[in-house]
Symmetry: C2
Subunit: 239 residues, 2 copies
């Protein structure tokens, strides 16, 4: 079976509704074969409210949505899922819950071995990668590891934002933060996906899609701009 | 002996030099009794460059500065320090180094038992508190714990920034992130110190000083604005 991932930078774009900006890509990605999507709401505290928001979006696209927080055995739910959608929120809380509920190995197995389609948004995209070392989120909980699902061998920085020349705020720019990560010898590439940007992975092919581009950071290499349509399959080779 | 802390939000204010905005407070805080300050540069990768920057600032105030990275035994260096200054950078890298070099217990002992004056800036202020759960930094390295020096029983969020009404960026506001931390039952208060703001702690008295105010977040309580001169000693009681 073939690995298939749709990694979205942000769930909501300014001025539009939840997942509105990527509905077409989700529909194309899931195809008509999928009937029910398994939703993982662990990145937010309010699972029921989050389920309602996600269900509305997926039902409008013609899919059923079941939230894993209602299942008595989450591992079994992943084991029989047709497709998985992990929503955004806090990446530390999300990864901590995936470890706590013993889901890391099982999601990885289903996606990489069984070819179950995986959609991630924001924190859900972060946890799909090698690690959460490049999340923007506040570390509100201490997970047992920063190693994530490793469905791809590189890292993502969602909501990537360019430096603002007018800012008087002295906190580091996003680029400076990612460069600090690359001061560590073994750190993998980081794909900064701007809001509106989506990464589509099908087997050994990875492409930047969506309304906005990305910026690629690799250790000891100048950053590189990527536009919609660009092929980044080279990132899928183990570093 | 008396606990004495000067916790600074940011090392540099827009348009001025390193520590320029808080030189007067540092001089008042250290008094003329102190001759040499022990500098902890672990929050940045380049220890030598960081030492040079910090030394320039402290020498201009009339103090000697020695950087702990030059000491063969960092624990002994803390053991004989007259005053400690931990500079900003990446909070995860900093706390990881403090654990790695077995400095957490010794710094805590010197400050709380021996009354050694402690100055922290940005990441150096974060690690002075109960935990680093409310840092803004990217988690570029996995420390053995998020529990920090616990020189005070609450948390700080440095570089605190108010929501921008004009922003179209969909990442969470700082306030929303801190509220997520407070969704955890045992989470302590968080003092969001704006750039220019400084927290001065002397024994059982804590005061907001500096050019800018703070915003206090407590679980299940509306946020509260604090201005320069406000007494926040109630935060020093164990929660």
């Amino acid at each position: 079976m073939t690995r298939r991932l749709l990694l979205i930078s942000n769930s909501t774009t300014h001025g539009s509704g939840y997942l509105d900006h990527c509905k077409e890509q989700i529909k194309q990605f899931l195809t008509e074969k999928i009937q029910t999507v398994l939703f993982v709401p662990y990145a937010l505290h309010d699972h029921e409210g989050y389920e309602a928001t996600a269900k509305k979006a997926f039902v409008s696209l013609g899919y059923q949505l079941e939230s894993i927080h209602r299942k008595t055995d989450p591992v079994t739910a992943v084991g029989s899922a047709e497709a998985i959608f992990i929503g955004g929120g806090n990446t530390f809380r999300l990864l901590n819950a995936l470890y706590d509920k013993k889901l890391v190995t099982e999601i990885r197995r289903r996606v990489l071995q069984d070819g179950v389609p995986y959609i991630g948004s924001s924190a859900g995209s972060n946890v799909a990668t090698a690690s959460i070392h490049t999340t923007n989120d506040m570390p509100i909980v201490y997970p047992p590891s920063f190693t994530a699902l490793s469905l791809v061998p590189f890292n993502i920085n969602p909501h990537y934002i360019d430096p603002s020349p007018d800012s008087k705020h002295m906190g580091e720019t996003r680029e400076a933060r990612i460069n600090q990560f690359h001061e560590y010898v073994s750190s993998p590439p980081v794909l900064g996906i701007r809001e509106g940007c989506i990464l589509l992975v099908e087997d050994k092919v990875a492409k930047v899609v969506g309304a906005n581009g990305a910026r690629l950071f690799m250790r000891d290499t100048a950053p590189r701009e990527l536009a919609t349509g660009d092929d980044v399959s080279f990132l899928l080779k183990e570093c």
